[in-house]
Structures are given as C-alpha cells and as structure tokens.
Symmetry: C2
Subunit: 240 residues, 2 copies
C-alpha cells in the first residue's frame, strides 16, 4: 500500500524497512549493517566510521560489505535515515509555530543524541524515507498555516538548514586534539579574552557571552528570531 512499489533505487537503493528479525546465525542484512554502523558512529565518531572497522564489527571482511551496499556514501545515507527515524512528528492540536518549535527541539535532541549525527546529515542527500517524512511534515505544517507554496518550501529549507547548522557547530566542539571537552569552553573563552583588545574590542568584551555554557538558550534565540520573521512574512502574504 501507499506506494511501496516506488523505485527508491537511484538515490536510495532499497528501503531498509522490510526486515525479518535478524536471525541468530550471522547472515548479514542491510539492516544489520546500518544498525552496527550507528553503534560504531556513537563509539568512534564520524572519522572513526570506516568500512573496515564496520566490517570487523560484523565479523566479516571489508570487501563483503560491498555485496550489501553500493559504497560508503550509501552507508552514510542509510545512517542519516536511521537517525531521522527517531525524530517525532508534529501535533495536530498545536499552532504552526508551536509545532515548528516542537519539531526543532525534537530534531536537535536526536542530532545531539548520536555522536556527529549532524555531520552525517550534512554529508548526505535527503533521500531516505524517514528523512523525507520529516521534511514532508514540516511542509505540511507550513502549508496548513497558510504559507504560499513557494514560501513554505523556502521556510522548510531554511528551518532545516538552521537546525542542522546549529547542531553542526555545537557538535564539532573544536576539541580535536585539544583539552577534554569539559574544559574546552573555558579554555576558548580565556584565549579570546587574551586577544589584543585594541584590534578586537568586542570579541574581548563579549567573550563571556560568546562562550556561554548554555547552547539551549542560544538555539531558542535564533529559532525565535527565525519564527518571528516567518510570522511577519505570513501576515504580509495574508495581506498581499
């Protein structure tokens, strides 16, 4: 039903949906590959996710993976979809604005719950069924709110770009080879404060705020600005 016969092939070769309860014997499944890839991502991060390590984890040689999967990009696309499958949808009883706030929080929560998840999404085209679902839901909310088609498409795009972009900044953390993640903000803050004040007066003066330890508040700030802007455009479109 509902178009299960659609050809996902070109972008997304075969849905990871019809899965028959992974048998005890080690018969490699596409779904099992994805499952282990997600576990490996959480443990080793984006850079640690290699075909060879993934194969090792599945008790198989790297070459075997290529029987189940076209290449690493496909693994990443499947991974992106698996991550998106955890994102909840809108609530029909709420306003469009409440729903976008809800969805943004959900989206971000999921992206932060898996290591480097935002990097996986950024490295991957939006072609998986679950990822498409989240876009579909955002479009539905916006269209129902009365946004004209073009504005709804733009708004959904921008909305997605904002959440992923923010989570990307957030998860990079710039701690590579640096101090332990906990001390990082403090260290960066001190470094900014030590900059030449004659050249970078604002940077030095605002260092405390720039490295505020509460990204939640900042996420809200940007989201509020964006939604205020969309609201303004909506009322403009309503009049026009």
């Amino acid at each position: 039903m509902n178009g299960a016969e659609h050809d996902w092939g070109a972008w997304f070769a075969g849905p990871a949906l019809r899965e028959e309860a992974a048998p005890v014997r080690a018969l490699l499944t596409r779904a099992e590959v994805v499952r282990q890839a997600l576990l490996l991502l959480d443990e080793a991060g984006f850079d640690g996710l290699t075909m060879r390590r993934l194969a090792g984890r599945l008790g198989v040689k790297a070459a075997s993976l290529y029987y189940h999967v076209r290449n690493k990009d496909e693994v990443l696309a499947l991974l992106a979809d698996a991550i998106c499958s955890e994102i909840g949808g809108p609530d029909p009883d709420r306003s469009w604005r409440e729903n976008l706030e809800l969805m943004a929080a959900e989206y971000r929560r999921v992206l932060l719950s898996h290591r480097d998840a935002a990097r996986v999404l950024a490295a991957t085209p939006p072609v998986g069924p679950d990822r498409l679902r989240t876009i579909e839901q955002a479009l539905e909310v916006l269209c129902s709110a009365g946004f004209p088609d073009e504005a709804a498409a733009d708004a959904a795009f921008i909305f997605n770009s904002y959440v992923v972009g923010f989570a990307l900044d957030e998860s990079l953390g710039w701690s590579e080879g640096g101090p332990p993640a906990g001390d990082f903000r403090e260290q960066a803050k001190q470094w900014y404060k030590s900059l030449p004040a004659a050249r970078f007066p604002r940077l030095v003066a605002l260092a405390d705020h720039l490295f505020d330890p509460t990204p939640d508040r900042r996420f809200e700030f940007g989201l509020t600005a964006l939604l205020d802007g969309l609201e303004a455009q909506l009322s403009r479109a309503g009049r026009g």
Copy 2:
C-alpha cells in the same frame, strides 16, 4: 602596534602576515603553502586537498610540509583565514540592518567563489585573525545598533551559522557520482515528483519550488526572516 605581540600560538601558530615577497628560489614559506593550498582547493575540492598533493605542487615531499605546519588541521585553519581575508567589512554610513545584509552577501559571495569554502570553515575553529575580524565587525554592528551584549553575541553566532550553513548546503550540491551539476536540480526535482504522492503529498506538490534554480532568492528569504526577528527582539529589548 595594536597587539602584534599577541600569542596566537595555541590555536593559530604564527600569523601568515609578515611575508617577504616569495623569492624565486623554492624556499618554502608558510604563506606559500597556504597560497598553493587555496589553489589546490579550487581545483580539487575539499576531498582532493591532501598533504601529498599539496607537497607535490610545491615541488617538495609530503614530509617537508611538517616542518612549516603542524598538521593538516592547521593547513585548513590557515586556509579558512585566507578565505575570510577576502570578505569586506561593514559601511559606517549604513543602518545595522543594511550592514548585516551587506556583510551576509559579501560572506556568501566569498564562500561561493572558492570551491568547498564553506566546508573548510565548517571543519575549522574560528581562530585566524581575518576570521576573527569578520566576527568582530558583526559584533560591532550589533552592539552599535543597541543590542544588549548577550543578544549581540547570540545574534552574531546565529548570523554566522546561517550564512555558513546555507552556503554549505548550496555548495555540496549532492552531485557526487551523479549527473553533471547543471542537470542535477532538474534530476532531483523529477525524482521528488516521482515519489509516492499518498505518502509525501507536499513533497510531490512542492518539488518545483524546493528545487527552484534561484538560491539567491531563498538566501534573501531566510536572511529577511532572521533580520525581521532580530529587529523584533531589538525593539523588545529597547522597551524592556
């Protein structure tokens, strides 16, 4: 003067500023390394930018690079700064809003003028002098406009995140291994249109708009929403 004695070391070992007009003989300079890295980036893209290829271009073996540069991450950070050096600043005669629009356009123009530039910025911490300058300038515009310190820091962060995030989406293009970049939008649009309409009604209906060939308009749309939102927050803060 103005703090030239500041220790950039921890994050940005030695400014690429004091350069003495590359001599004819092949004495490798830090600045020359960065110059060639930028050329290589433009030719080969982010994934094609390797230490070995960069060395080859400089007529030197890969190991030699490590005498001038700590590692590849440092090359990327220097590259990010070289790219940011091309971004123009604000105009003191304009309003804060006009200036942010101007700076956003400049920023995006530069990011699109070098292949995968947004990826370089996203992969790199904001520690170079020219990159810091652009942040300083954004903060200055916001503070002068009357934003409270915390809001100015948030706004500058979000502003940066928006521009880089948008350019990132834009430059990825998802054409990897796919059709030539020109046909890509059309191909993606057709694929979206072919999705099962019962499951993805909005996606199918809005495919034409989602793959609109004019990212400029969409960039404006999002920027306008963001700035409208900031304007609303500013007047709220003014009253509060």
